[in-house]
Amino acid sequence: MRALLSRDLRLAVRAGGGFGLGLAFFLIVVVLVPFGVGPETAILARIAPGILWVAALLAALLSLDRIFALDHEDGSLPLLATAPLPLEMLALAKALAHWITTGLPLVVAAPLLGILLHLPGTAMPWLLVSLALGTPALSLIGTFGAALTVGLRRGGLLLSLIVLPLYVPVLIFGAEAARRGAEGLPATTPLLLLAGIGLGCAALLPFATAAALRVTLR
């Protein structure tokens, strides 16, 4: 599993790997918001948690179709599937690689962009924790969607339609935790639910992803 993970990370940072694409997208969306809603600090501060979460979600979505599509095109996928690595571990490694290349940079960059949106300083830790807990779930759900749509023409569009509704609970609890943090309310409950979703995804979705891959590989 470590071999596959390091290969995917290496591929992501080399030329044409698309590393930083999601981060750049996140940056641009967040920077565009003040142009759209105006520069009043009160309004921006109020919508900042939601904006940051929606932007992070869209940025994660952007690179999902690459998770399996590239391996499918060049024929690596059947070779990986016949390797001694169980498909469930393959799914987990792919999700982890996606999180490290997409989710982790978003978590790190979010507080910086929070400043642009006048997010109060007290909310920063909550935003950081909610994104750190929520983005792995985004990668795991996305990997499942990618496995379902690999090999389909226009699969990317279908992938968004499948994955976005599944992202809703993560978005609700993630943004809620960040909002409560911003208003100085206790945010433990949404964070616990978010952690629960993340753990549930990590426990169940690799199996679902492997099952989907078995069908799409036929």
Binding site: G16, G17, D74, G75, P78, L79, T82, P84, L217, R218
Partner: protein, 191 residues
């Protein structure tokens, strides 16, 4: 939808089998089934599974990785060692630091086949392994199969149209073709 019916063969260590038949007869389907990529409609495959290494007509080469990195990845994934011998066997010594994306079709194919020497599986399932190889490379590959795989008790099932010069038993799949009615009518084909 059945493609082939009543296919049966058994191979002992050190034996190879060449699958023959026209395009579309089901050579790839048979190999994928033995490799475990798709389940047989009925019947069973014994002894392959964990011991099998599969190679399709696509090599699964990542343009951004070098030749050495590619082979090292497969060695790590299969928990085996990458020996110098592999580079010699497939004439890749001068290419080891080249990004795989800059290789020619034949060189890429040699890299894809070198993977088979790295993963050291007892049962090799090879789908058109010699596509885009020149005569010299075909000979090298045949030597690898004979001296490094079959001679060491390996098994190989090879779908190919050319003569590898290995004097292996051949199986023509034409008689095993599923009857048209078993394949389903044209209405069913779109269901």
């Amino acid at each position: 939808m059945p493609v082939l019916t009543d296919v049966s063969f058994r191979l002992a260590p050190g034996q190879g089998l060449v699958l023959r038949g026209a395009n579309g007869i089901g050579k790839t389907t048979l190999l994928r089934t033995v490799a475990g990529l798709q389940p047989p409609l009925s019947g069973r495959v014994e002894g392959a599974g964990e011991r099998a290494g599969y190679a399709s007509h696509a090599d699964g080469i990542k343009p951004a990785l070098t030749v050495t990195e590619t082979l090292q990845f497969w060695a790590d994934l299969y928990r085996s060692d990458l020996s110098e011998e592999v580079f010699d066997l497939f004439d890749l010594t001068d290419l080891r630091d080249r990004p795989a994306g800059t290789l020619s079709a034949g060189q890429g194919r040699r890299l894809g086949l070198a993977r088979l020497a790295v993963i050291s599986r007892e049962v090799l399932l090879l789908d058109e392994p010699t596509v885009s190889l020149d005569a010299f490379s075909v000979k090298r590959f045949a030597t690898f199969l004979r001296d490094h795989h079959l001679a060491r008790g390996g098994i190989a099932v090879i779908a190919t149209h050319i003569d590898l010069g290995l004097d292996l038993p051949e199986m023509d799949l034409t008689p095993y073709r599923a009857a048209p009615e078993a394949r389903g009518g044209s209405d069913e084909a779109f269901l």
